[in-house]
Amino acid sequence: MGASSSASAGTVESRVVTTRLSRWRFRNRRWVGWLFILPWVIGFLIFDVLALVLNFYFSMTNFTVGARVPDWVGFANFQQAFTKDKLLGLSFTNTVYYAGLSIPLGMLVAFVLALLLNADIRGRGIFRTVYYLPSLVPAAASAIIWLFILRTRNGVLNQFLGLFGINAIPWLGRPEWAKPALILMSLWSFGQQMVIYLAGLQGIPTELYEAAEIDGASWLQRLLRITIPMMTPMLFFNLVMGIIGSFQVFTAAFLMTQGGPLNATLFYMLHLYNNAFRYFRMGYSSALAVLLFLVILTLTLFVNKTSGRWVYYGGA
């Protein structure tokens, strides 16, 4: 808070023009500050605090959209979720499968590409742009595009694989292929992650590499002992964002498979969406939201807890 407190201290000290007006202004900066952040405070109270409280409240009721006043049912929704909802367990496993593969694979691909494109080669700006482009494509468009590419019959990917004598793969047509297909597709848009790694790589002091080179460290040693430790804050950031994002994966599955085939891509959010906006079981879907929230919270806290052991903040 250094910069701004010294700014206001400066205002006090340099009272060359000490008028009553300016003293009035300074004292009133107390509420002026609140005035400036007021829109956010209102939004925070409505869209975060109230929404969160309502969500917890709804989760204890049998609320549907038509009903005026929801009935309190206690933990019945949670009980139903754990005992009766057969699709819930499946949708959770699907989501864990998706997150468990797409997060590490995405991080790996983005990290390796960032390493390559951090090298001092000609045209790296063009390469960076090319790799970033897919992450700009709207989800609705990329769903349409990949639906077409992944077609079993005459899909361009299968035509390409056919050149190597590989039989047509039913990408989105069979339960065992559908999740890998969506994960593969998610790897197409790692651009945003890559940019964060690139920014991190540029922040590593070159002296470290120079010193290592003098000591005769190999390429691999430099990667393991300097680059990766220095990149752990970015890896940590992307891991947390990856957890929050992949556990709420929705659009691709909604647009491409509607959860099929045989519920193989029925992800948690899709199941929640169906309950909320197809069957209008607002109470029950709020309970589902609470459960997912707890899962994400636990995972993030766990990652955060372990971060002390593997994330390096340059001594700070």
Binding site: A7, L21, L52, L136, Q248, L272, A289, I296
Partner: protein
């Protein structure tokens, strides 16, 4: 430098070019394939060879797309949301960010920590309550649910970016303005905004991408009223009906939807780099 070291270096670069080059083809191919398919006739679609350059080029697909789908209406709807979201984000978030960055008031630090913590709040826990609130207000099937949150700075990340940027500005400027009797509102408007183009542009681009690309919110809030559909919803509906025979139109629609994002990105690219590096992702 010895010859062998030079050779290793050259070899390393050749390796990078090879991998990065092959990767670029993989990255670009889906986009090129989309473009090429959007210019194919129905007969060319069923050809089993991989043809990137359609012959003849069916420019007419784009014309016909407009007669099949109300693209103009969906474009206007999307643009309405984009413009409103831009005004909201830029104006309100920058006011709030100024409050956090440049004014010292009691409770500020607590509020800022709360702001940061909302960045980690998964959207899933507010999905249902949001809908219920807007439904009770009778605002489902209007643009308000998508726009009002922008005017209440419901975007902690933008506030964070701007606040970091404002804090990096020279405080002497503010001090002298204050001595001259300039109010905080005046400082925000006359000093801070004019010199904060990089971060404002960055937020403008992010807002554009969000509003243009978003699928779930329009689906929930506008899905029921075809006249209010955005491009994303229109594209999805095109997929739904007639399936097989509309692939070239779907691809043409996709191209139309992608181009504005690329243009905005190309225009603002240099600002994004300035805006983000200046703010510092590490905080």
């Amino acid at each position: 430098m010895t010859v062998s070291m030079k050779q290793t270096r050259a070899l390393g670069h050749a390796f990078i070019y090879l991998i990065a080059g092959l990767g670029s083809i993989v990255m670009l191919f889906p986009l090129l394939w989309t473009m090429s398919t959007s210019l194919k006739t129905i007969d060319q679609l069923v050809v089993t060879r991989i043809e990137l350059m359609p012959d003849p080029i069916a420019w007419n697909n784009y014309v016909e797309l407009f007669s099949r789908v109300d693209v103009t209406k969906q474009f206007t709807n999307t643009l309405t949301i984009v413009v409103a979201a831009e005004i909201g984000s830029l104006l309100v978030c920058s006011l709030v960010a100024y409050g956090f960055a440049c004014i010292d008031f009691p409770g500020r630090d607590v509020m800022f920590v709360l702001l940061l913590s909302t960045m980690m709040l998964p959207g899933v826990v507010t999905l249902v309550p949001f809908f219920v609130m807007w439904d009770r207000l009778g605002l489902v099937n209007t643009f308000y649910p998508l726009v009002i949150p922008r005017f209440l700075a419901h975007n902690p990340f933008y506030i964070f970016l701007m606040r970091q940027f404002f804090r990096g500005l020279p405080t002497d400027l503010f001090d002298s303005a204050r001595i001259d009797g300039c109010s905080d509102f005046g400082i925000w408007r006359k000093i801070v905004l004019p010199i904060s183009k990089p971060v404002l542009a960055t937020v403008a681009i992010f807002t554009f991408q969000w509003a243009w690309n978003d699928f779930m919110s329009p689906l929930i809030y506008l899905g029921g009223d075809k006249g209010k559909w955005t491009l994303a919803l229109g594209l999805n509906a095109l997929k739904g009906f007639e399936g097989e025979t509309t692939v070239h139109f779907q691809m043409a629609f996709s191209v139309l939807m992608i181009i504005p994002v690329l243009v905005v990105f190309a225009l603002g690219q240099k600002y994004i780099i300035q805006g983000v590096t200046f703010s510092g992702i590490k905080g």
